[in-house]
Symmetry: C2
Amino acid sequence: MKYPVGSKTKNSCYIEYSNRGMGLEDDLNITNEQYRINDIAFIYKKPTPVTISKVEFNNKKEPIIKEGFYKKPSTTDYNGLYNGLYIDFEAKETKSKSFPLSNIHQHQIKHLQNISKHKGFSFLIIKFVTENKIFLLEEKKLTSFIDNEKRKSIPLEYFMNEGYLIKEKFSPRIDYLEIINKIILKEK
Amino acid sequence: MKYPVGSKTKNSCYIEYSNRGMGLEDDLNITNEQYRINDIAFIYKKPTPVTISKVEFNNKKEPIIKEGFYKKPSTTDYNGLYNGLYIDFEAKETKSKSFPLSNIHQHQIKHLQNISKHKGFSFLIIKFVTENKIFLLEEKKLTSFIDNEKRKSIPLEYFMNEGYLIKEKFSPRIDYLEIINKIILKEK
């Protein structure tokens, strides 16, 4: 999980949202907003799951969280609806030339498999930062790798051969629905 | 929004999860778990959206949230997948004999309408606590009320005439998918 990072004071830190670089998460949030604005799809990033254990109220009687903990996400980060199709995916960045499977929880893989089984469309979006390449990998290709390979890391070549390269555009920025259209057309 | 309530100390409060009564939210969480365990549907409550502004690390280097704020939810509380059908709903309790529309944000109503338009299935689940009755109301019936009535509150009678009563069972506890099956069969 990606924890917020900002200016550090002793062992605490304040988060500087404005200063963060444009990573995959930001690009996907913008993409999803572009899809929504253009009435194409309604896909959202789920909020980070936290357990809140202490709340205080300010002078305006507004609640302020004073103690909380990050929880393990029980599902993937993104889901939504595209023209009657249930969409579900996890998105990750890697600086290496291979995507370590340890970056996805076992129950998230199980979740992606459940979604495919129940007629949703589930996949990974992986950004290879050094190569500046973004791939979509369908759940069935992910499962096939896990079942047939002993490696704990999926090499870039596997994404190039079995996945789909998503070209970056101005709008929609990371047009993964274009890839999904292609896959659906191919399967018909 | 429902804020956590627990033992109060001055103007702060600690949350006692074990002591909470079984409200609609708990019952729906159990229902969704029963659906998942029985491999029927994969529908989850989304985490409460919070903005985290300060994080500290304990001795084990685990992050602890030390300041955060509740955000307005941009969508509904529940969504997921049932046999290829995208499911999306908001659930609310009311102690009155009428459901105040002010209990749902305008953008949540818009979201439910967008979902229907894009071939998902969207609705409300409303519990009338005093009557101990739970209803499912389809988005189109909600929209029809808003468009045709000047009242800012939907009376119980409207739910009885235009909605579907969900009978409580042992398992699944609040079987709203049974109602959806009926609606889909009727429309075919």
